[in-house]
């Protein structure tokens, strides 16, 4: 006994289809933003308990280096955006060159970041030194790991060189960029 069920439209194009690149990349980006957002919120909450200690600890970081790194990453993001345009125009050589430059700036970011970590390590500062460093190491460390992943991903999408792949890689790279732009003021400047 089955009653005739009214057919409902399930084949309409969904809004999800209009997203550039892979849907899964957007799921990942949202998840990443949730994690970094929660980390920053926790950082700010714990900071309320010890503003003086946080301010003192912050002086051990490389503020100028981090400022330069902001410019480096934003420029790199711009190059990745140009690479997307090149991919859509079908100019493979140009898009690969732009992605190589974007990746090279990613390496510059890691070198500057590495010199800060090295100085902190020489000063004997670790995760457990102060709550500030637990957060700054966790947040910037996770972020640096994403820069490494992003460089690998840009290499991969450069090899594939399809517009969809480059869009997907650039979306990830912009997320890495965006997260740094949020981390920088909170961790280094506030």
């Amino acid at each position: 006994m089955t009653a005739p069920t009214p057919t409902r439209p399930q084949d309409q194009p969904s809004v999800l289809d209009s997203l550039p690149g892979e849907l899964m990349m957007w799921v990942l980006i949202l998840s990443e933003l949730a994690v970094f957002g929660a980390g920053l919120a926790a950082f700010l909450a714990v900071r309320i308990t010890d503003p003086a200690g946080f301010a003192e600890a912050q002086t051990h970081l490389h503020r100028t280096g981090a400022g330069i790194n902001t410019v480096v990453l934003v420029t790199s993001g711009w190059l990745a955006a140009l690479a997307v345009q090149a991919a859509e125009a079908g100019r493979k050589v140009r898009l690969r060159g732009l992605l190589a430059l974007a990746s090279a700036l990613g390496v510059v970011f890691l070198v500057l970041k590495g010199s800060e970590y090295a100085d902190l390590a020489r000063a004997g500062i670790g995760f457990e030194t102060h709550a500030f460093f637990t957060f700054s190491y966790l947040l910037t460390g996770f972020h640096a790991a994403h820069v490494i992943a992003g460089i690998l991903l840009l290499g991969l999408v450069g090899a594939l060189a399809t517009p969809r792949a480059v869009e997907t890689g650039a979306a990830f790279w912009h997320m890495v960029d965006l997260v740094w732009v949020l981390l920088f003021p909170v961790v280094y400047l506030l």
């Binding site: 399930q10 899964m24 929660a38 926790a42 957060f135």
Partner: protein, 454 residues
């Protein structure tokens, strides 16, 4: 039933349900020990009973997953299982191993023996010969299923199912690694059970749910696959580092408190996704499938998993909260509803769907099966509430006011008594379910005459 090797699933489901009976019966005994603590204290010490209750649960759920794989892989891959003999050999190894474990523990045999004695690590204390047997059985299973899938049609459902089953088997290898350092021991210990229930088993769960939704609702495979990938991605993203919520107080560095709190909070997302998935598929569905019981279990599974694993997990996952609630009855409340919702209901859903088809009697005993759903789920939800209240009172008296553990236990008696009652409902529900599966009556309920509403 389209493929005759799907019949293998019957044997797996039968053994799984037999162990289910053992598990819930032990649960009832343990529930009574909470009410009357000296009950059986000489014959069945509490820790042995608890271990049997937990381990028989894990083993029967795994047997159910194996059965589900043997049922759905032929249908998805559109070919017979590679080897029927190997499938039954695998089951025999697992049954012998399980029996060996139970006998070794109950009579405390071969203590200290490298091969035959128990290893003394809670829940992975199986004697080495059993662990080796489990690995051999897992290898046989993976070989058998992988060859079937590789030779046939590959679908997102079988890909995700295989990924989950391969990873969970690999993770079991940590059972062989026993570091002398107790903190490290616990760290690796969680690689097994946490990365099972909060990562790899979720892949199995999502793919089996997807298979059920495909069959029961008739929604397009493409739509189902998109949901499946999103659920799996969020499960792995949150679940892997979510392991950190077990590392708060075991001697690992302090940063785990933040990693664990943040990532494990996100673990609610895939469970919400699975619940949303199940309901959206049913609303979108064009098919009015006659197996209402399987549908009820599938929706119940997604809903209770969201509350048991997601909401009740979040209740005590933040390290600031867990500092007070760790190891209280709050944990027990979460454990019961999470396992029941996510994995028990999932197994009972696929069994409810597959058994009538496998035995050529579909659909049958819908009413009894659905009654068992409400009895078991109602009992389990009530149990969750009693334990949550017990845990809240316990946390306050013991952790905030600093009263002694046993003094607090005395004051929780009323909750334990009510929990025992809800346990009786769960056991009756389980027996009713098994009866409905094992003693089929063809049952056709004629709808009454339709009367227009006035």
């Amino acid at each position: 039933m389209k493929y005759k090797t799907q019949k293998i699933a019957i044997a797996y489901f039968a053994v799984a349900l037999a162990l289910f009976t053992v598990q819930v019966t032990l649960g009832l005994i343990l529930g009574w020990i909470y009410v009357s603590p000296n009950f059986l204290s000489e014959i069945l010490p509490f820790n042995i009973g608890r271990m049997l209750h937990t381990n028989s649960l894990v083993v029967w759920l795994l047997l159910g997953f194996f059965g589900a794989a043997y049922y759905l892989v032929p249908e998805e891959s559109e070919r017979e299982i590679h080897s029927t003999k190997l499938a039954y050999l695998q089951l025999i190894i697992l049954v012998v191993g399980t029996a060996g474990v139970v006998v070794t523990y109950l009579f405390n045999l071969f203590d200290g023996n490298f091969l035959l004695g128990n290893e003394g690590r809670e829940f992975i204390e199986q004697p080495r010969w059993v662990k080796a047997g489990i690995v051999v059985a897992a290898l046989i299973f993976l070989y058998n299923i992988s060859l079937t899938v590789l030779a046939g049609k590959k679908t997102a459902i079988t890909n995700i199912l295989l990924l989950g089953l391969w990873l969970l088997s690999l993770l079991f290898l940590f059972a062989f690694y026993n570091p002398a350092n107790l903190a490290l021991d616990k760290q690796y210990w969680w690689f097994i059970v946490h990365l099972w229930v909060e990562a790899t088993w979720e892949l199995v769960m999502a793919s089996i749910l997807a298979f059920l939704m495909l069959k029961l609702t008739g929604v397009d495979r493409e739509v189902i696959e998109k949901w499946l990938y999103v659920i799996v991605a969020t499960a792995l993203f949150s679940g892997i580092l979510g392991t950190g919520h077990h590392y708060y107080w075991i001697g690992t560095p302090g940063y785990w408190q933040w990693i664990g709190s943040i990532f494990s909070t996100l673990e609610i997302v895939p469970f919400f996704g699975m619940m949303a998935f199940a309901f959206v598929m049913v609303w979108k569905g064009r098919r009015d499938h006659p197996n209402k019981a399987a549908m009820l279990w599938a929706l119940g599974c997604a809903t209770l998993a969201f509350f048991g694993a997601g909401v009740w997990g979040f209740l005590h996952t933040l390290h600031g909260v867990n500092y007070y609630t760790h190891g209280t009855q709050i944990t027990a409340a979460h454990g019961h509803l999470a396992f029941f919702g996510a994995y028990v209901s999932l197994n009972l859903a696929i069994i409810s769907y597959a058994m009538p088809i496998l035995r050529g009697r579909d659909p049958y005993n819908q009413v009894l099966n659905m009654a068992s759903f409400w009895l078991m789920s109602g009992g389990m939800v009530f149990m969750t509430f009693t334990l949550t209240f017990a845990g809240t009172v316990q946390t306050h008296l013991q952790r905030v006011n600093g009263q002694a553990y046993m003094d607090v236990q005395d004051q929780l008696w009323i909750f334990y008594a009510m929990r025992f009652g809800s346990g009786v409902a769960v056991v009756l529900g389980a027996l009713l379910f098994i009866y409905a599966m094992a003693f089929p009556r063809r049952e056709v309920i004629e709808p009454g005459p339709a009367v227009a509403a006035e």
